[in-house]
Every structure is written in C-alpha cells, then in structure tokens.
Assembly symmetry: C2
Homo-oligomer: 122 residues x 2
DNA sequence: GTCGTTGCAAAGCGTTTGCAGCCTA
DNA sequence: TAGGCTGCAAACGCTTTGCAACGAC
C-alpha cells in the first residue's frame, strides 16, 4: 500500500515543476528545497515505485543516467543536443513501426531518440 | 597511431563472428578463446577506440550495458524481446524524422528501439 | 628503442540494499 | 500500533584509470 509522505510529495512536485525529464540527482536537488533531509536512496525508491504505479515514465539516453518525467503527457519522443546536453520533448511519432517489425514478432512499444543541435547551439 | 595486437585482433574477430550486438563482457568471453589472458579493461579500451575509428557502433538498450556491433552493415535498428532478452536487427527505418524535429534544430542522427515479443516467445 | 598497449588492481559512479528508527494510516 | 517509509552507509555492477611491464613498428 502506498503512503503519502512529505518526501514523496516533494519528489512528485519536483517532477511536476520540470519541463523536461530529470535524473534522480536532479530530482534530489529540487526536492531538497522542500525536504532538506531527503536522501538519494529515497529518490530512487520513490521513482521506481512511481514507475510501477504508472505515474512516471523513464527516459533512457545513451551515456546518461535514466531520467524520469510525469506520465500522461501523451505519446512523444526526445531530442538531445550534443552540445549543451539538454533533452527536449518532440511531438509526434514517425509511425510505420509495424512495417519494420519482423514477421511473427509482436511489437508492444518503442522509443525514438533524436540527436543533433538545438536551436541555440546550431 | 593504432597498433595491431593479438588482443585487438581477437576482439575484432569476436564481433565479426557474432550476428548480434555484444556486450563488453560477451566480447571478453568470446575473445578469450583466442587470447586467454585478455582483460576486461582492454576490451573496454579497444571497443572505445574502435568506436572512435568508426569500426564499431554502440547499441544502447535501456537497463542493459552498452553493446557493440561492427559498423558497415547499413542503417538499421533493433528489436528486443522482453521475454528472452535477445536483441535482433531490424531492417529499414521509419523515415519522417525531420518532420518531428523542432524548427531551428539540426538533426544529425537517431535511434529507434522496438520492444515486444520475438517469434519464439510470442 | 620508442611509445602505444596490456593486465592488474584500485578508484569512480550510478544504483540497490540492510537495518534501525520514524511516521502515516 | 502495525508495517510501510526514510536516511545512512555499505554493497553492487559496470566502466574507467594509474601504473609498471610488454611488445609492435
């Protein structure tokens, strides 16, 4: 059973106030503004329980720690600038993915990652 | 300047004989059949120098260590079975990716990952 | 002979876990 | 009050690095 604690509230708030996926470390920094005794272990435990509940979604980027963002934003993907490292959300989806899937395979989900330069760095 | 050593040869062979991306640990196991004193540090160092040379390509999968495959196979993506964990190469590419890219951004590369069940597990 | 390469061991870094005390329900 | 939650520190697994010996060119 899930309990509502100050820590979990702070972690959820941190994610809500962000407009991009946050790493556990970034979550910790932000959430400590609410609960300054917060420990990194609690962040990891909360994020993974939020993930199980479907409240947050993990965003995996090559070479970076896993980031998390709130679920319910609708289907989208991510663009990472190779210069400044920031991660942006991109609307839409290329589609056609079932056409790529080998015969006999069952496609359940997918991830599309774009890399390049953002508007400011380009 | 790059030198040809038995170790690098063994690592390259390991990748050549595989039909799927290998993790550094898997590369080590296979390459040790040629050079049994091979150490894991050498595998990491060689893989990253091969990557810089453009000889191999890293394949990143959420939750797994980075795998490597030989470059020059043509553009393709990957499908991972959530049951058996195997990673398959997928021909083709969804295209349309420039349409997803925000205005002012410069798209340089991308990655598409498919998840689901393979033919045997489905 | 030079200097890049190797293997070992130690260090790094992100993540997980054991445990005793805390606090929500 | 029960049992989930928390913070700390230790443990973990993968990856990187320091260093002295090695070996390709």
């Amino acid at each position: 059973m899930e309990r509502n604690t100050r820590q979990r509230g702070a972690i959820r708030s941190a994610l809500e106030s962000a407009d991009r996926p946050l790493s556990p470390q970034e979550v910790l920094t932000r959430a400590r503004q609410d609960v300054d005794s917060l420990g990194i272990a609690t962040v990891y435990r909360s994020l993974s329980s939020f993930e199980k509940e479907g409240l947050v979604i993990p965003v995996h980027l090559p070479g970076d720690p896993t980031r998390y963002e709130l679920a319910g934003k609708g289907h989208h993907h991510h663009f990472r600038c190779r210069k400044c490292g920031r991660v942006f959300e991109v609307e839409g989806c290329p589609g056609n993915l079932h056409q790529l899937t080998p015969v006999g395979f069952k496609l359940e989900s997918h991830e599309v990652l774009l890399f390049g330069l953002c508007g400011e760095c380009g």
